[in-house]
Symmetry: C2
Subunit: 184 residues, 2 copies
DNA sequence: AATATATGTAAGTAAGTACTAACATAAGGA
DNA sequence: TCCTTATGTTAGTACTTACTTACATATATT
C-alpha cells in the first residue's frame, strides 16, 4: 500500500463517495455508470466502495436522497400567512430557484424514474403540478384560464431545467412578470 | 424451424425491427436495452436482428432518424409569407404539435444526447430556441421582454414533453393565448 | 422442380461488470 | 507500543451482453 494521506474518517469518506457517485450518475446515468467509474472519481479503490455501500443501487438512492428530502417542504411552510397571490409568487420563486440550482440532479431523477423506477420512483412533475393547482385555486383565478395558467407555470419551471441558468434576481423579476400575466 | 407465417420482405422486416427497437429504447434507454429485448419485442430471434443491423448503435441511430429529419424544415417553409406575428403563432403551433405527438422519442433523444452523445448528438433545446429567437425578432417585440417571451415559449414547448397530452384544437387555443400574452 | 431468400436453433466467444474474499499495510488514538 | 480503523492489492466468481459461426428449414420466386 502506498504512503498517502488520503485517509478520512468514516463519515467524511461516505460523504465524499456520495458526491463523486452523484457526479458520475449525472454524467452517465444509472445504467451507464460503473462502480469502477465511481471509485476512480472518488480516487479510491473499488473494494473500498463496497466497504461503505452494499450495492450500486444503494449508492444511487443515497446520492439523490438529499434532493428528494429538501424538495417540497420549505416553500409551503414559509409561505404561510401570505395573501394568495403573494403566496403563489413566493412558491414559484422558491421552486424555480431550487430547480435551477439542482437542475442536473433533477433531470437525472426525472430520467431514472422512467427508466429505472426501482431506484428512483418519483413523480416529480405531478407533485409540483398539484401544489401549483392548489395555490392557484386559492388565488381565485377563473376556471377557464386555470389550465392555461398551470401550463404556463409548469412550463416556466421546466424551462429552468433545460435553458441556461440565470441569476436569482432575474428569476425574481421573471416570476413577477409571470404572475402579473396570469392575474391580469 | 417452426411452421410459421412470420416471413416478411426485407424492407418490411427492417421497418418492423426499427419500430420495436424504438419502443424498447424509449422504455429502457439505450444502455438499458439489450438486443435480446429488442428481438423479443419484434418477435424474432436475436440472430435475425444482426442480419439486418451491424450493431445496437446502428439500430438506435436508424430508429430515431425519422424524427430528426422531420423536426425542423416544415414549419419554416410553410410559414413563409405570413405576417411576423402570425408566423410566430404558426411556428409555435406546428412545433408544439410535433413535440406533443413525439414526446416520448424526443425525451429519449434529449436524454441520450447527454448520456451517450456518440449515438445521439443533437442540441435540441438550442435549435428550437434559436428559431424562436429569430421569429420573435421579426415581430418587433421589445428587447426588454425578449428573454421573458423566449422563456415563456420554450417553457410552453417543454411542458408538452412532460404534461399530459391535449387535443390539437386545445393546443391552438393555448398558443393563441400565449401569443396574445407576449404581444400585449 | 430448382433456386434464392428469410428465418430459426444451437453453441459459443470475448468483454464487461457488480460484488466478494484474503491478506497486507499505513495512520491515528489509547 | 499496542490496537483499531481505513485503505490498498490481487484474484476471483457468477452473470450479462453484443455479436458470430455453422447448419437446418420453411417460404417465395422462377
Amino acid at each position: 500500500m502506498e504512503k498517502t494521506n488520503k485517509r478520512m474518517t468514516r463519515e467524511e469518506r461516505r460523504k465524499q463517495i456520495l458526491e463523486s457517485a452523484l457526479k458520475v450518475f449525472i454524467e452517465k446515468g444509472y445504467n451507464g455508470s460503473t462502480t469502477l467509474d465511481i471509485a476512480k472519481k472518488a480516487d479510491i479503490s473499488e473494494v473500498t466502495l463496497f466497504r461503505y455501500f452494499d450495492s450500486k443501487k444503494q449508492m444511487f438512492m443515497e446520492a439523490i436522497e438529499p434532493i428528494l428530502i429538501t424538495s417540497l417542504k420549505e416553500s409551503l411552510v414559509e409561505s404561510q400567512g401570505l395573501e394568495p397571490m403573494e403566496k403563489l409568487e413566493y412558491i414559484l420563486k422558491n421552486r424555480i430557484k431550487f430547480i435551477s440550482e439542482h437542475s442536473e440532479v433533477i433531470k437525472l431523477i426525472l430520467m431514472e424514474s422512467q427508466i429505472n423506477p426501482e431506484v428512483a420512483d418519483f413523480d416529480f412533475v405531478r407533485q409540483i403540478t398539484s401544489i401549483l393547482k392548489d395555490s392557484i385555486k386559492d388565488t381565485g383565478i377563473g376556471l377557464e384560464d386555470e389550465d392555461f395558467s398551470i401550463r404556463l407555470m409548469m412550463g416556466s419551471i421546466l424551462s429552468f431545467l433545460y435553458l441556461p441558468k440565470i441569476k436569482d434576481n432575474e428569476i425574481d423579476s421573471y416570476v413577477e412578470k409571470l404572475v402579473d400575466t396570469i392575474s391580469k
